[in-house]
Point group: C2
Chain length 100, copies 2
């Protein structure tokens, strides 16, 4: 258990963080469902697993959205590259015939 859970202000902040994290996990679950479908589609259509032009478009758009919403664009870029790296691993596994 955490050493600071008795502090009511900190507990309130943490309850909000936990709610947001649950939403993030569920959205990421949906995102990977779609990207796995994309991976299968690309493998069946003989399209390459990665598409650098698409990634640069995504990064540029999300940096703008981050700016508008008060999130650090540099962090946002690191975040989307982190997610896309995982997606490319999935696509490579799908292309190699791993159904996982």
């Amino acid at each position: 258990m955490s050493e600071h859970t008795e502090d009511p202000q900190l507990a309130e902040f943490r309850a909000s963080i936990d709610n947001i994290d649950a939403a993030l996990v569920h959205l990421l679950a949906e995102r990977f469902k779609i990207t796995k479908a994309v991976g299968r589609y690309k493998a069946n259509s003989d399209l390459p697993p990665s598409d650098p032009g698409r990634e640069e478009q995504q990064i540029s758009r999300l940096r703008d959205l981050a700016d508008d919403s008060g999130l650090d664009p540099a962090f946002t870029e690191k975040f989307i590259r982190f997610v896309v790296a995982e997606v490319i691993q999935h696509h490579q596994r799908i292309a190699e015939g791993d159904s996982f």
Copy 2:
């Protein structure tokens, strides 16, 4: 521009991914607003920036949520550690008097 935007099935997948990414960015913006408030609160209360007990609780809970929602728990742990590392950097900057 992406080389594959003319494929209607791929374009439909990508529109859903873009919607989810916009939601992720906005949720992350809210999450960092709260963690910056936590950072200020900890600095004013002389609490340490990081709390390993809290982090382990978060990871364990999010791995369970990931399991329930079909997301890879190992990826989920990497994701939350990635976000928490950014938060700790913010808290250290706040503790050092950087208002950013």
